[in-house]
Amino acid sequence: MSLLAIPRMALVACALLFVIPLIVPGWIMFVLTKALFMFIGVLGVAVLLRGGLLTFGHALFYATGAYTVGFCVKWTGVHELLLLIPLGALAGFIMAVLVGLIMARYREVFFAMLNLAFSMILFGALLKFYWVTGGTDGLATGTATLLGNPLLAGSFGYYYFTLAVAGVVTFVVYRYMASPIGYFLRAVYDNEIRIEYSGMAVRQVVYRTFILAGTLGGVSGVMAAFTIGHIVPEDAFWIQSGEFVFMALLGGFGGLPGPLMGAIAFEFIQTYASKYFPLAWQMTLGIIMLGIILFQPGGLWAMYQSAVKWIGRGGRGGEQS
Protein backbone atom coordinates (compact mmCIF):
# COMPACT_ATOMS: atom_id res chain seq x y z
CA MET A 1 0.00 0.00 0.00
CA SER A 2 1.52 3.28 -0.99
CA LEU A 3 1.82 6.05 1.49
CA LEU A 4 -0.65 8.49 0.03
CA ALA A 5 -2.94 6.04 -1.70
CA ILE A 6 -6.35 7.61 -1.32
CA PRO A 7 -9.08 5.03 -1.70
CA ARG A 8 -11.21 5.36 -4.80
CA MET A 9 -14.25 5.52 -2.57
CA ALA A 10 -13.04 8.79 -1.05
CA LEU A 11 -12.59 10.34 -4.49
CA VAL A 12 -16.07 9.26 -5.55
CA ALA A 13 -17.56 10.69 -2.36
CA CYS A 14 -15.69 13.96 -2.86
CA ALA A 15 -16.85 14.27 -6.44
CA LEU A 16 -20.45 13.56 -5.47
CA LEU A 17 -20.43 16.06 -2.62
CA PHE A 18 -18.89 18.60 -4.97
CA VAL A 19 -21.46 18.22 -7.72
CA ILE A 20 -24.69 17.55 -5.85
CA PRO A 21 -25.26 21.12 -4.50
CA LEU A 22 -25.23 22.40 -8.08
CA ILE A 23 -28.25 20.35 -9.04
CA VAL A 24 -30.39 20.11 -5.90
CA PRO A 25 -32.60 22.72 -4.16
CA GLY A 26 -30.98 25.05 -1.64
CA TRP A 27 -32.51 23.42 1.42
CA ILE A 28 -30.83 20.14 0.56
CA MET A 29 -27.50 21.92 0.34
CA PHE A 30 -28.14 23.38 3.78
CA VAL A 31 -28.94 19.94 5.16
CA LEU A 32 -25.72 18.66 3.61
CA THR A 33 -23.77 21.50 5.22
CA LYS A 34 -25.11 20.45 8.58
CA ALA A 35 -24.32 16.82 7.81
CA LEU A 36 -20.74 17.74 6.96
CA PHE A 37 -19.93 19.46 10.24
CA MET A 38 -21.77 16.77 12.19
CA PHE A 39 -19.65 14.24 10.32
CA ILE A 40 -16.52 15.90 11.72
CA GLY A 41 -17.83 15.33 15.24
CA VAL A 42 -19.07 11.82 14.48
CA LEU A 43 -15.61 10.87 13.20
CA GLY A 44 -14.30 11.38 16.72
CA VAL A 45 -16.99 9.16 18.22
CA ALA A 46 -16.46 6.54 15.51
CA VAL A 47 -12.69 6.47 15.97
CA LEU A 48 -13.13 5.90 19.70
CA LEU A 49 -15.59 3.12 18.95
CA ARG A 50 -12.92 1.38 16.88
CA GLY A 51 -11.10 0.92 20.17
CA GLY A 52 -14.32 -0.36 21.76
CA LEU A 53 -14.71 2.96 23.57
CA LEU A 54 -18.24 4.31 23.66
CA THR A 55 -18.79 7.87 24.82
CA PHE A 56 -22.08 9.39 25.89
CA GLY A 57 -20.47 12.78 26.42
CA HIS A 58 -18.96 13.89 23.14
CA ALA A 59 -21.14 17.00 23.15
CA LEU A 60 -18.68 18.28 25.77
CA PHE A 61 -16.22 19.05 22.97
CA TYR A 62 -18.84 20.11 20.48
CA ALA A 63 -20.13 22.70 22.97
CA THR A 64 -16.57 23.72 23.81
CA GLY A 65 -15.99 24.57 20.15
CA ALA A 66 -19.35 26.29 19.80
CA TYR A 67 -18.90 28.44 22.91
CA THR A 68 -15.38 29.35 21.83
CA VAL A 69 -17.05 31.02 18.85
CA GLY A 70 -19.75 32.49 21.09
CA PHE A 71 -17.27 34.10 23.46
CA CYS A 72 -15.00 35.36 20.68
CA VAL A 73 -17.91 36.98 18.89
CA LYS A 74 -19.25 38.42 22.12
CA TRP A 75 -16.02 39.84 23.48
CA THR A 76 -13.83 40.52 20.48
CA GLY A 77 -16.24 40.73 17.58
CA VAL A 78 -14.04 38.33 15.60
CA HIS A 79 -16.00 36.20 13.10
CA GLU A 80 -13.04 34.94 11.06
CA LEU A 81 -13.35 31.22 10.25
CA LEU A 82 -9.65 30.77 9.58
CA LEU A 83 -8.95 32.05 13.08
CA LEU A 84 -11.85 30.52 14.94
CA ILE A 85 -11.52 27.00 13.56
CA PRO A 86 -7.97 26.60 14.87
CA LEU A 87 -9.07 28.27 18.10
CA GLY A 88 -12.05 25.93 18.49
CA ALA A 89 -9.80 22.98 17.69
CA LEU A 90 -7.37 24.20 20.34
CA ALA A 91 -10.16 24.58 22.89
CA GLY A 92 -11.36 21.06 22.17
CA PHE A 93 -7.77 19.84 22.33
CA ILE A 94 -7.14 21.43 25.73
CA MET A 95 -10.44 20.16 27.11
CA ALA A 96 -9.56 16.64 25.91
CA VAL A 97 -6.03 16.86 27.33
CA LEU A 98 -7.49 17.66 30.76
CA VAL A 99 -10.50 15.35 30.78
CA GLY A 100 -8.50 12.63 29.05
CA LEU A 101 -6.09 12.46 31.98
CA ILE A 102 -8.92 10.84 33.90
CA MET A 103 -10.74 9.14 31.03
CA ALA A 104 -7.71 7.24 29.74
CA ARG A 105 -7.84 5.07 32.85
CA TYR A 106 -11.32 3.77 32.12
CA ARG A 107 -13.02 1.50 29.62
CA GLU A 108 -16.45 0.29 28.72
CA VAL A 109 -19.24 1.37 31.06
CA PHE A 110 -17.03 3.72 33.05
CA PHE A 111 -15.68 5.41 29.95
CA ALA A 112 -19.17 5.97 28.58
CA MET A 113 -20.67 7.23 31.82
CA LEU A 114 -17.79 9.38 33.06
CA ASN A 115 -17.76 11.17 29.73
CA LEU A 116 -21.46 11.76 30.20
CA ALA A 117 -20.82 13.11 33.69
CA PHE A 118 -18.23 15.57 32.37
CA SER A 119 -20.56 16.83 29.67
CA MET A 120 -23.33 17.25 32.25
CA ILE A 121 -21.00 19.37 34.38
CA LEU A 122 -20.41 21.65 31.40
CA PHE A 123 -24.13 21.74 30.64
CA GLY A 124 -24.83 22.73 34.24
CA ALA A 125 -22.13 25.40 34.16
CA LEU A 126 -23.46 26.86 30.90
CA LEU A 127 -26.87 27.23 32.50
CA LYS A 128 -25.65 28.51 35.82
CA PHE A 129 -23.15 31.13 34.74
CA TYR A 130 -25.76 32.89 32.64
CA TRP A 131 -24.12 36.31 32.93
CA VAL A 132 -21.26 34.95 30.84
CA THR A 133 -22.98 32.28 28.74
CA GLY A 134 -26.38 33.85 28.22
CA GLY A 135 -27.99 30.97 30.13
CA THR A 136 -30.87 29.22 28.37
CA ASP A 137 -31.03 32.01 25.78
CA GLY A 138 -27.54 31.16 24.60
CA LEU A 139 -25.47 33.42 22.40
CA ALA A 140 -25.87 34.63 18.83
CA THR A 141 -22.89 34.21 16.54
CA GLY A 142 -23.78 36.38 13.57
CA THR A 143 -22.32 35.74 10.16
CA ALA A 144 -18.93 34.15 9.69
CA THR A 145 -16.21 35.80 7.65
CA LEU A 146 -13.62 34.14 5.48
CA LEU A 147 -10.52 36.31 5.02
CA GLY A 148 -12.65 39.25 6.07
CA ASN A 149 -15.47 38.61 3.58
CA PRO A 150 -18.87 37.63 4.99
CA LEU A 151 -19.75 34.02 4.28
CA LEU A 152 -23.45 33.42 4.70
CA ALA A 153 -24.54 30.02 6.09
CA GLY A 154 -26.55 28.39 3.32
CA SER A 155 -24.49 29.92 0.53
CA PHE A 156 -22.47 27.92 -1.97
CA GLY A 157 -19.26 29.38 -0.58
CA TYR A 158 -20.14 28.28 2.92
CA TYR A 159 -20.97 24.79 1.74
CA TYR A 160 -17.71 24.38 -0.14
CA PHE A 161 -15.72 25.77 2.77
CA THR A 162 -17.35 23.21 5.09
CA LEU A 163 -16.63 20.50 2.53
CA ALA A 164 -12.98 21.55 2.44
CA VAL A 165 -12.72 21.45 6.25
CA ALA A 166 -14.37 18.04 6.30
CA GLY A 167 -11.94 16.88 3.62
CA VAL A 168 -8.91 17.96 5.62
CA VAL A 169 -10.27 16.35 8.77
CA THR A 170 -11.02 13.11 6.94
CA PHE A 171 -7.48 13.00 5.63
CA VAL A 172 -6.05 13.52 9.13
CA VAL A 173 -8.24 10.75 10.57
CA TYR A 174 -7.36 8.48 7.65
CA ARG A 175 -3.67 8.92 8.35
CA TYR A 176 -4.22 8.39 12.06
CA MET A 177 -6.07 5.16 11.48
CA ALA A 178 -3.40 3.89 9.08
CA SER A 179 -0.60 4.70 11.54
CA PRO A 180 0.74 2.39 14.24
CA ILE A 181 -1.34 4.20 16.87
CA GLY A 182 -4.45 3.66 14.77
CA TYR A 183 -3.76 -0.06 14.66
CA PHE A 184 -2.93 -0.15 18.36
CA LEU A 185 -6.32 1.46 18.87
CA ARG A 186 -8.03 -1.42 17.04
CA ALA A 187 -5.89 -3.70 19.18
CA VAL A 188 -7.19 -2.06 22.37
CA TYR A 189 -10.55 -3.47 21.39
CA ASP A 190 -8.97 -6.90 20.84
CA ASN A 191 -6.41 -7.48 23.52
CA GLU A 192 -4.97 -4.96 25.94
CA ILE A 193 -2.78 -7.57 27.60
CA ARG A 194 -0.80 -8.19 24.45
CA ILE A 195 -0.28 -4.45 23.97
CA GLU A 196 1.07 -4.02 27.49
CA TYR A 197 3.28 -7.07 26.98
CA SER A 198 4.66 -5.40 23.86
CA GLY A 199 5.93 -2.54 25.99
CA MET A 200 3.28 -0.13 24.73
CA ALA A 201 1.12 1.88 27.12
CA VAL A 202 -2.54 1.21 26.36
CA ARG A 203 -3.37 4.37 28.25
CA GLN A 204 -1.31 6.46 25.83
CA VAL A 205 -3.16 4.97 22.88
CA VAL A 206 -6.51 5.77 24.45
CA TYR A 207 -5.36 9.21 25.58
CA ARG A 208 -4.13 10.28 22.17
CA THR A 209 -7.24 9.04 20.45
CA PHE A 210 -9.37 10.84 23.00
CA ILE A 211 -7.47 14.04 22.27
CA LEU A 212 -7.96 13.58 18.53
CA ALA A 213 -11.68 13.02 19.05
CA GLY A 214 -11.94 16.04 21.35
CA THR A 215 -10.19 18.27 18.84
CA LEU A 216 -12.54 17.13 16.08
CA GLY A 217 -15.47 17.83 18.40
CA GLY A 218 -14.18 21.38 18.82
CA VAL A 219 -13.94 21.93 15.05
CA SER A 220 -17.41 20.53 14.59
CA GLY A 221 -18.75 22.91 17.24
CA VAL A 222 -17.22 25.95 15.52
CA MET A 223 -18.87 25.08 12.21
CA ALA A 224 -22.14 24.35 13.99
CA ALA A 225 -22.13 27.71 15.75
CA PHE A 226 -21.90 29.60 12.46
CA THR A 227 -24.16 27.34 10.44
CA ILE A 228 -26.99 27.51 12.96
CA GLY A 229 -26.10 31.06 13.98
CA HIS A 230 -26.99 30.50 17.58
CA ILE A 231 -25.58 28.43 20.42
CA VAL A 232 -27.41 27.11 23.45
CA PRO A 233 -26.47 25.02 26.52
CA GLU A 234 -28.26 22.07 24.86
CA ASP A 235 -25.18 21.81 22.63
CA ALA A 236 -23.57 20.14 25.66
CA PHE A 237 -26.65 18.11 26.59
CA TRP A 238 -26.74 14.33 26.54
CA ILE A 239 -29.22 14.31 23.68
CA GLN A 240 -26.58 15.95 21.49
CA SER A 241 -24.03 13.31 22.58
CA GLY A 242 -26.60 10.63 21.90
CA GLU A 243 -27.09 11.97 18.41
CA PHE A 244 -23.37 11.71 17.69
CA VAL A 245 -23.38 8.10 18.81
CA PHE A 246 -26.54 7.51 16.80
CA MET A 247 -24.92 8.80 13.61
CA ALA A 248 -21.83 6.65 14.14
CA LEU A 249 -24.00 3.60 14.68
CA LEU A 250 -26.38 4.37 11.82
CA GLY A 251 -23.59 4.77 9.28
CA GLY A 252 -21.34 2.12 10.81
CA PHE A 253 -18.04 2.96 12.46
CA GLY A 254 -15.87 0.31 10.81
CA GLY A 255 -14.45 2.75 8.27
CA LEU A 256 -14.54 6.39 7.29
CA PRO A 257 -17.50 6.29 4.86
CA GLY A 258 -19.85 5.09 7.61
CA PRO A 259 -19.82 8.24 9.74
CA LEU A 260 -20.41 10.37 6.62
CA MET A 261 -23.36 8.24 5.54
CA GLY A 262 -24.63 8.29 9.11
CA ALA A 263 -24.42 12.07 9.37
CA ILE A 264 -26.17 12.63 6.04
CA ALA A 265 -28.89 10.09 6.77
CA PHE A 266 -29.36 11.57 10.24
CA GLU A 267 -29.85 15.10 8.95
CA PHE A 268 -32.46 13.94 6.44
CA ILE A 269 -34.26 11.84 9.04
CA GLN A 270 -34.30 14.86 11.34
CA THR A 271 -35.63 17.13 8.63
CA TYR A 272 -38.53 14.80 7.85
CA ALA A 273 -39.17 13.68 11.42
CA SER A 274 -39.46 17.25 12.66
CA LYS A 275 -42.04 17.80 9.93
CA TYR A 276 -44.13 14.67 10.47
CA PHE A 277 -43.52 13.59 14.09
CA PRO A 278 -42.26 16.70 15.85
CA LEU A 279 -43.10 15.30 19.29
CA ALA A 280 -41.47 11.92 18.85
CA TRP A 281 -37.96 12.80 17.74
CA GLN A 282 -36.18 10.82 20.45
CA MET A 283 -38.54 7.93 19.94
CA THR A 284 -37.71 7.91 16.24
CA LEU A 285 -34.02 7.85 17.08
CA GLY A 286 -34.52 5.10 19.63
CA ILE A 287 -36.52 2.87 17.32
CA ILE A 288 -34.06 3.22 14.45
CA MET A 289 -31.14 2.58 16.81
CA LEU A 290 -32.83 -0.51 18.19
CA GLY A 291 -33.40 -1.73 14.65
CA ILE A 292 -29.75 -1.24 13.69
CA ILE A 293 -28.43 -2.98 16.78
CA LEU A 294 -30.71 -5.97 16.38
CA PHE A 295 -30.74 -6.35 12.60
CA GLN A 296 -27.89 -4.43 10.95
CA PRO A 297 -25.02 -3.97 13.42
CA GLY A 298 -22.65 -2.75 10.70
CA GLY A 299 -24.90 0.19 9.81
CA LEU A 300 -25.52 1.69 6.39
CA TRP A 301 -21.95 1.23 5.21
CA ALA A 302 -22.06 -2.51 5.82
CA MET A 303 -25.45 -2.60 4.14
CA TYR A 304 -23.98 -0.86 1.12
CA GLN A 305 -21.01 -3.23 1.06
CA SER A 306 -23.14 -6.33 1.16
CA ALA A 307 -25.42 -4.85 -1.50
CA VAL A 308 -22.42 -4.29 -3.74
CA LYS A 309 -21.22 -7.80 -3.10
CA TRP A 310 -24.67 -9.16 -3.80
CA ILE A 311 -25.03 -7.34 -7.09
CA GLY A 312 -21.62 -8.70 -7.88
CA ARG A 313 -20.07 -5.62 -9.39
CA GLY A 314 -17.19 -6.10 -7.00
CA GLY A 315 -16.83 -2.46 -6.02
CA ARG A 316 -13.63 -2.10 -4.03
CA GLY A 317 -12.04 0.68 -2.04
CA GLY A 318 -12.76 2.45 1.18
CA GLU A 319 -10.75 1.88 4.25
CA GLN A 320 -9.98 -1.68 5.11
CA SER A 321 -11.31 -2.75 8.47
Partner: protein, 254 residues
Protein backbone atom coordinates in the same frame (compact mmCIF):
# COMPACT_ATOMS: atom_id res chain seq x y z
CA UNK B 1 28.65 -2.24 36.67
CA UNK B 2 30.92 -4.99 35.44
CA UNK B 3 32.07 -6.02 38.90
CA UNK B 4 28.51 -6.33 40.15
CA UNK B 5 27.86 -10.07 40.44
CA UNK B 6 24.14 -9.54 39.87
CA UNK B 7 24.89 -8.71 36.26
CA UNK B 8 25.99 -12.19 35.31
CA UNK B 9 22.43 -13.38 35.78
CA UNK B 10 19.73 -12.55 33.28
CA UNK B 11 17.18 -13.33 35.94
CA UNK B 12 17.48 -13.61 39.66
CA UNK B 13 14.71 -13.95 42.23
CA UNK B 14 15.32 -13.55 45.95
CA UNK B 15 12.88 -15.06 48.44
CA UNK B 16 9.92 -14.31 46.21
CA UNK B 17 6.71 -15.17 48.03
CA UNK B 18 3.08 -15.01 47.01
CA UNK B 19 -0.02 -16.79 48.25
CA UNK B 20 -3.65 -16.85 47.16
CA UNK B 21 -5.52 -17.38 50.39
CA UNK B 22 -4.46 -20.79 51.70
CA UNK B 23 -2.57 -21.72 48.55
CA UNK B 24 1.10 -20.79 48.39
CA UNK B 25 1.85 -20.05 44.75
CA UNK B 26 5.44 -18.94 45.20
CA UNK B 27 7.21 -20.14 48.34
CA UNK B 28 10.39 -18.10 48.78
CA UNK B 29 11.70 -18.72 45.30
CA UNK B 30 15.43 -18.26 44.79
CA UNK B 31 16.11 -18.86 41.13
CA UNK B 32 19.05 -17.76 39.03
CA UNK B 33 19.21 -17.97 35.26
CA UNK B 34 22.38 -17.09 33.37
CA UNK B 35 22.70 -15.72 29.85
CA UNK B 36 22.16 -18.26 27.08
CA UNK B 37 20.37 -20.85 29.18
CA UNK B 38 17.37 -22.81 27.97
CA UNK B 39 15.42 -23.68 31.09
CA UNK B 40 12.36 -25.90 31.24
CA UNK B 41 9.97 -25.73 34.17
CA UNK B 42 7.82 -28.76 34.98
CA UNK B 43 5.15 -29.21 37.59
CA UNK B 44 1.59 -30.33 38.06
CA UNK B 45 -1.37 -28.00 37.57
CA UNK B 46 -1.39 -25.40 40.33
CA UNK B 47 2.26 -25.95 41.24
CA UNK B 48 3.01 -22.28 40.57
CA UNK B 49 4.61 -22.43 37.10
CA UNK B 50 2.47 -19.76 35.43
CA UNK B 51 2.45 -17.72 38.62
CA UNK B 52 6.24 -17.67 38.39
CA UNK B 53 6.04 -16.14 34.89
CA UNK B 54 3.37 -13.70 36.04
CA UNK B 55 5.61 -12.63 38.90
CA UNK B 56 8.69 -12.11 36.74
CA UNK B 57 6.74 -10.02 34.23
CA UNK B 58 5.02 -7.93 36.87
CA UNK B 59 1.48 -9.12 36.21
CA UNK B 60 1.42 -10.24 39.84
CA UNK B 61 3.32 -8.58 42.64
CA UNK B 62 5.14 -10.67 45.26
CA UNK B 63 4.16 -10.23 48.91
CA UNK B 64 7.83 -10.09 49.69
CA UNK B 65 11.13 -10.79 48.03
CA UNK B 66 12.70 -9.16 45.02
CA UNK B 67 13.12 -9.85 41.32
CA UNK B 68 16.11 -8.71 39.31
CA UNK B 69 16.33 -8.69 35.55
CA UNK B 70 19.80 -8.10 34.09
CA UNK B 71 20.83 -6.86 37.51
CA UNK B 72 18.02 -4.34 37.70
CA UNK B 73 15.38 -4.50 40.38
CA UNK B 74 11.96 -4.95 38.72
CA UNK B 75 9.83 -5.82 41.75
CA UNK B 76 6.58 -3.87 41.51
CA UNK B 77 7.09 -2.76 37.91
CA UNK B 78 4.12 -3.19 35.57
CA UNK B 79 4.45 -5.64 32.64
CA UNK B 80 4.95 -2.81 30.16
CA UNK B 81 8.16 -1.62 31.84
CA UNK B 82 9.48 -5.12 32.45
CA UNK B 83 8.92 -5.79 28.74
CA UNK B 84 10.88 -2.67 27.89
CA UNK B 85 13.83 -4.03 29.88
CA UNK B 86 13.97 -6.96 27.48
CA UNK B 87 11.65 -9.58 28.93
CA UNK B 88 9.04 -10.91 26.51
CA UNK B 89 6.56 -13.68 27.09
CA UNK B 90 4.01 -15.89 25.41
CA UNK B 91 0.88 -17.18 27.04
CA UNK B 92 -0.79 -20.48 27.78
CA UNK B 93 -3.86 -19.16 25.98
CA UNK B 94 -2.39 -17.07 23.14
CA UNK B 95 -3.03 -13.35 23.56
CA UNK B 96 -3.59 -12.13 20.03
CA UNK B 97 -5.23 -9.28 18.13
CA UNK B 98 -8.06 -11.38 16.73
CA UNK B 99 -9.43 -8.68 14.43
CA UNK B 100 -6.13 -7.78 12.77
CA UNK B 101 -4.27 -9.79 10.17
CA UNK B 102 -1.26 -11.93 11.10
CA UNK B 103 1.08 -9.52 9.33
CA UNK B 104 -0.46 -6.45 10.97
CA UNK B 105 -0.04 -8.04 14.40
CA UNK B 106 3.60 -8.59 13.62
CA UNK B 107 3.99 -4.98 12.47
CA UNK B 108 2.55 -3.81 15.80
CA UNK B 109 5.21 -5.76 17.69
CA UNK B 110 7.87 -4.13 15.54
CA UNK B 111 6.31 -0.72 16.07
CA UNK B 112 6.29 -1.26 19.82
CA UNK B 113 9.89 -2.46 19.72
CA UNK B 114 10.96 0.71 17.89
CA UNK B 115 10.51 2.67 21.12
CA UNK B 116 7.74 5.22 20.88
CA UNK B 117 5.26 2.99 19.14
CA UNK B 118 5.73 4.44 15.68
CA UNK B 119 3.66 7.61 15.98
CA UNK B 120 0.30 8.66 14.60
CA UNK B 121 1.09 10.07 11.19
CA UNK B 122 3.35 7.72 9.21
CA UNK B 123 1.61 4.52 8.15
CA UNK B 124 2.06 1.26 9.99
CA UNK B 125 2.76 -0.46 6.70
CA UNK B 126 6.24 0.90 6.11
CA UNK B 127 9.76 -0.24 5.41
CA UNK B 128 11.73 -1.77 6.97
CA UNK B 129 8.99 -3.19 9.19
CA UNK B 130 7.08 -4.73 6.28
CA UNK B 131 10.11 -6.76 5.34
CA UNK B 132 11.24 -7.57 8.89
CA UNK B 133 7.73 -8.66 9.70
CA UNK B 134 7.60 -11.06 6.78
CA UNK B 135 11.04 -12.43 7.66
CA UNK B 136 9.98 -13.14 11.22
CA UNK B 137 6.80 -14.80 10.00
CA UNK B 138 8.87 -16.95 7.66
CA UNK B 139 11.16 -18.05 10.48
CA UNK B 140 8.14 -19.26 12.36
CA UNK B 141 6.61 -20.80 9.26
CA UNK B 142 3.62 -18.46 9.31
CA UNK B 143 4.20 -16.59 6.04
CA UNK B 144 1.32 -18.29 4.25
CA UNK B 145 -1.09 -16.82 6.77
CA UNK B 146 0.35 -13.30 6.59
CA UNK B 147 -2.71 -11.56 5.16
CA UNK B 148 -5.30 -13.73 6.87
CA UNK B 149 -7.15 -12.54 9.97
CA UNK B 150 -5.64 -13.90 13.16
CA UNK B 151 -8.99 -15.49 13.97
CA UNK B 152 -8.49 -17.91 11.04
CA UNK B 153 -5.23 -19.37 12.35
CA UNK B 154 -5.27 -23.01 13.47
CA UNK B 155 -4.31 -23.82 17.09
CA UNK B 156 -0.63 -24.49 16.43
CA UNK B 157 -0.37 -21.35 14.33
CA UNK B 158 -1.91 -19.27 17.12
CA UNK B 159 0.65 -20.65 19.53
CA UNK B 160 3.52 -19.85 17.17
CA UNK B 161 2.22 -16.37 16.40
CA UNK B 162 1.93 -15.65 20.11
CA UNK B 163 5.60 -16.54 20.51
CA UNK B 164 6.61 -14.78 17.28
CA UNK B 165 5.00 -11.54 18.53
CA UNK B 166 7.16 -11.74 21.66
CA UNK B 167 10.21 -12.73 19.66
CA UNK B 168 9.83 -9.69 17.40
CA UNK B 169 10.38 -7.50 20.46
CA UNK B 170 14.03 -8.69 20.38
CA UNK B 171 14.03 -9.71 24.04
CA UNK B 172 17.02 -10.77 26.08
CA UNK B 173 14.86 -13.12 28.09
CA UNK B 174 11.94 -14.98 26.54
CA UNK B 175 9.35 -16.72 28.69
CA UNK B 176 7.06 -19.26 27.06
CA UNK B 177 4.02 -20.58 28.85
CA UNK B 178 3.28 -24.12 27.63
CA UNK B 179 4.33 -23.65 24.01
CA UNK B 180 2.87 -27.03 23.03
CA UNK B 181 -0.42 -26.96 24.91
CA UNK B 182 -3.30 -27.03 22.47
CA UNK B 183 -0.98 -28.34 19.75
CA UNK B 184 -1.71 -31.82 18.44
CA UNK B 185 0.59 -34.65 19.49
CA UNK B 186 1.95 -35.08 15.95
CA UNK B 187 2.82 -31.38 15.71
CA UNK B 188 4.26 -30.65 19.10
CA UNK B 189 7.84 -31.67 18.27
CA UNK B 190 7.64 -29.80 15.01
CA UNK B 191 6.57 -26.65 16.85
CA UNK B 192 9.34 -27.11 19.41
CA UNK B 193 11.95 -27.77 16.70
CA UNK B 194 10.98 -24.54 14.97
CA UNK B 195 11.17 -22.63 18.23
CA UNK B 196 14.45 -24.03 19.47
CA UNK B 197 16.13 -23.41 16.11
CA UNK B 198 14.99 -19.79 15.99
CA UNK B 199 16.06 -19.22 19.58
CA UNK B 200 19.46 -20.84 19.08
CA UNK B 201 20.17 -18.58 16.10
CA UNK B 202 19.30 -15.42 17.99
CA UNK B 203 20.93 -16.27 21.30
CA UNK B 204 17.98 -15.49 23.53
CA UNK B 205 17.89 -16.76 27.10
CA UNK B 206 14.70 -18.79 27.40
CA UNK B 207 12.52 -20.18 30.14
CA UNK B 208 9.62 -22.36 29.13
CA UNK B 209 6.92 -23.82 31.28
CA UNK B 210 5.69 -27.22 30.17
CA UNK B 211 3.55 -29.96 31.64
CA UNK B 212 4.64 -32.38 28.92
CA UNK B 213 7.64 -34.29 30.37
CA UNK B 214 8.64 -35.59 26.98
CA UNK B 215 9.06 -32.09 25.58
CA UNK B 216 11.05 -30.91 28.59
CA UNK B 217 13.32 -33.92 28.45
CA UNK B 218 14.03 -33.41 24.79
CA UNK B 219 14.55 -29.65 24.69
CA UNK B 220 15.51 -28.36 28.13
CA UNK B 221 19.21 -28.02 29.01
CA UNK B 222 18.25 -27.41 32.59
CA UNK B 223 15.01 -28.33 34.30
CA UNK B 224 13.33 -26.87 37.34
CA UNK B 225 10.63 -28.95 38.97
CA UNK B 226 7.92 -26.99 40.80
CA UNK B 227 5.67 -28.31 43.52
CA UNK B 228 3.40 -26.23 45.76
CA UNK B 229 5.15 -23.05 44.75
CA UNK B 230 8.69 -24.17 45.45
CA UNK B 231 11.51 -25.70 43.45
CA UNK B 232 12.00 -29.34 44.42
CA UNK B 233 14.70 -30.15 41.88
CA UNK B 234 17.03 -28.21 39.63
CA UNK B 235 19.52 -29.67 37.18
CA UNK B 236 19.98 -31.60 33.96
CA UNK B 237 16.83 -33.17 32.53
CA UNK B 238 18.01 -36.78 32.96
CA UNK B 239 18.63 -36.32 36.67
CA UNK B 240 15.63 -34.19 37.50
CA UNK B 241 13.12 -36.23 35.56
CA UNK B 242 14.47 -39.48 36.97
CA UNK B 243 14.02 -38.23 40.53
CA UNK B 244 11.17 -40.24 42.11
CA UNK B 245 10.06 -37.25 44.17
CA UNK B 246 9.67 -35.22 40.98
CA UNK B 247 7.84 -38.06 39.24
CA UNK B 248 5.25 -38.33 42.01
CA UNK B 249 4.91 -34.56 42.26
CA UNK B 250 4.48 -33.96 38.55
CA UNK B 251 2.82 -37.13 37.33
CA UNK B 252 1.32 -38.48 40.53
CA UNK B 253 -1.74 -36.27 40.43
CA UNK B 254 -2.93 -35.15 37.08
Amino acid sequence: MANNPENSFVLRTKDVFLSFGAVTAADNLNIEVSAGELVGIVGANGSGKTTFLNLITGYLKPEHGSILVMGQETTGMPPRLVTKLGVARSFQVPQLYTNLSVHESMLLSLAAESGKGGGFWKPLHRDPWEQQGMETLERFGLETYADRPVSELPGGGRKLLDIALSFALKPKLLLMDEPTSGVSVENKFQVMDTLVNVLKESDITTIFVEHDMEVVQRYGRRVLAFDNGSVIADGEPEHVLADPEVRTAVLGRV
